[in-house]
């Protein structure tokens, strides 16, 4: 087993770690950086539980190797809250009951954080298109959609779709 020394920047903090090249970014964050907020469901790109933001793009951290993230800016669920104050999106998940067991939640939060930070306004079709990327076994999705929709409204990012 050969490891390599790399430095990762996660939520603005640097982590000097040793990692095997075969370790995915998800495993690297969890095992080498001690950031276990990022969850692994399927480990082959289907469920989205492992979604993190790398250089302002949402990615499946189970389909990228940790070593590939050196020099990139990585954001995980641990970076969303400001101390005890939840981000508006996190608060909206709380208010609208957007989670039950919580396993899929970090992935949904990172995907939706990216969506809300994008310049483009969000309508219902785009909301559903983007959130269809991730799976949830508990909620039936309606409250996740609602939580993100209400957060978008609060941030002035929401537009009603043109009537059909």
């Amino acid at each position: 087993m050969t490891t390599q020394r790399i430095t990762l920047t996660v939520n603005g903090m640097t982590h000097a770690i040793e990692v095997e090249p075969r370790r995915t970014l998800a495993d690297t964050l969890r095992d080498q950086c001690g950031l276990t907020g990022t969850h692994l469901g399927c480990e082959h790109g289907v469920c989205g539980a492992c979604t993190v933001i790398v250089d302002n793009q949402p990615v499946r951290s189970c389909l990228m190797f940790g070593i590939q993230a050196e020099g990139r800016s990585i954001r995980t669920v641990e970076g969303l809250a400001d101390g005890a104050t939840l981000s508006p999106l996190q608060q909206s998940f709380w208010d609208h009951h957007g989670l039950q067991c919580g396993f899929c939640t970090p992935g949904f939060l990172m995907l939706a954080t990216w969506l809300l930070e994008r310049e483009t306004p969000i309508d219902e079709a785009e909301l559903r298109h983007v959130l269809s990327s991730n799976l949830c076994r508990c909620t039936g999705y309606q409250n996740i959609l609602k939580a993100v929709r209400e957060a978008a409204k609060g941030l002035g990012k929401w537009v009603e779709s043109a009537p059909a």
Binding site: R22, E43, H44, V59, L63, M64, L111, S132, N134
Partner: protein, 285 residues
């Protein structure tokens, strides 16, 4: 599962990547977006001894029109095409097609050239490249080869690319303003691989179709051209009657794959539907 161990190289130039491929081509693999390769490594269906990661080769990150073609470099990610990369029918077609490839976070990593190299029978880019008559550029330390899309796709997950070669770019013909394109696919869940898809391109002049191409994907080992179906359209005026004739011919021009998702008859039926929808979309745009 977790991928097996490998030696990792991240060259910074195409030349360095080609030199690595010359040495490790047989037991190594190119790592582009990783959105197909990493899952196969996680399942241990692939256990490359060496990975040549091309993600740090900035020289392969381009997407620009040049003369008659759009040149798309190996590092151009799917997401880049979500807003039209060129004005005219080509940019619109690519923007429509790309929304059907997997999901947003997969499109931010996966590459068009990676899809062409992987050659999944249900790949939207493979079907598009064949329909439009793309040219692929395969490079090795010995030089460059230009390969037409027709020669590229050989079988399921099998292309004309040699182990020591890198697909450095694909060139898509810039379609002039007389061209109209349409795309349609069917799948059971958003983001899944399609059970059948059609890409169509029509050149319409004075209300008459002068040239037509119909490509099908997800129905056999490789994407295919429904040339006889397309020929039925030439000289005709666009409309439902000719659309139905072409769709009918397209549905019988291939030997359908049979799998747990679809019987042969069902696949033919899906082809009928997607060809018609793609043709309608082409003239509506």
């Amino acid at each position: 599962m977790k991928p097996a161990a490998f030696d990792y190289h991240a060259p910074l130039t195409p030349e360095a990547a080609l030199a690595l491929l010359a040495t490790h081509g047989e037991d190594g693999k190119v790592l582009a977006g990783g959105q197909s390769l990493v899952p196969t490594m996680a399942f241990r269906l692939a256990r490359p001894a060496v990975l040549i990661d091309i993600n740090r080769i900035e020289a392969l990150n381009f997407c620009r029109p040049e003369g008659e073609v759009l040149r798309v470099g190996a590092l151009t990610r799917h997401a880049r095409f979500e807003t039209p990369v060129v004005t005219g029918p080509l940019g619109l077609l690519l923007a429509d097609v790309v929304r059907n490839i997997a999901h947003t976070p997969i499109r931010s990593r996966g590459t068009m050239c990676g899809s062409l190299a992987h050659a999944d029978p249900a790949s939207e880019w493979c079907c598009t490249a064949l329909t439009l008559g793309a040219t692929l550029v395969a490079a090795s330390t010995a030089g460059e080869r230009l390969i037409t899309a027709g020669d590229w796709f050989q079988s399921i997950f099998t292309t004309a690319l040699q182990p020591n070669e890198l697909l450095t770019e694909v060139r898509l013909p810039m379609l002039g303003s007389g061209w109209r394109c349409g795309f349609s696919e069917f799948n059971r869940r958003a983001g899944d691989f399609a059970l059948a898809m059609a890409v169509v391109a029509l050149q319409v002049e004075g209300g008459v179709i002068r040239e037509a191409r119909i490509g099908l994907g997800g129905v056999g080992a490789t994407p295919i051209l429904a040339a006889e179906a397309a020929a039925l359209l030439v000289g005709q005026s666009p409309g439902e009657v000719v659309w139905s004739e072409a769709a009918e011919r397209a549905a019988t021009c291939f030997e359908p794959t049979e799998d747990i998702n679809a019987t042969p008859e069902y696949r033919r039926d899906l082809v009928r539907a997607v060809v018609k929808r793609a043709l309608r979309k082409a003239v509506a745009t």
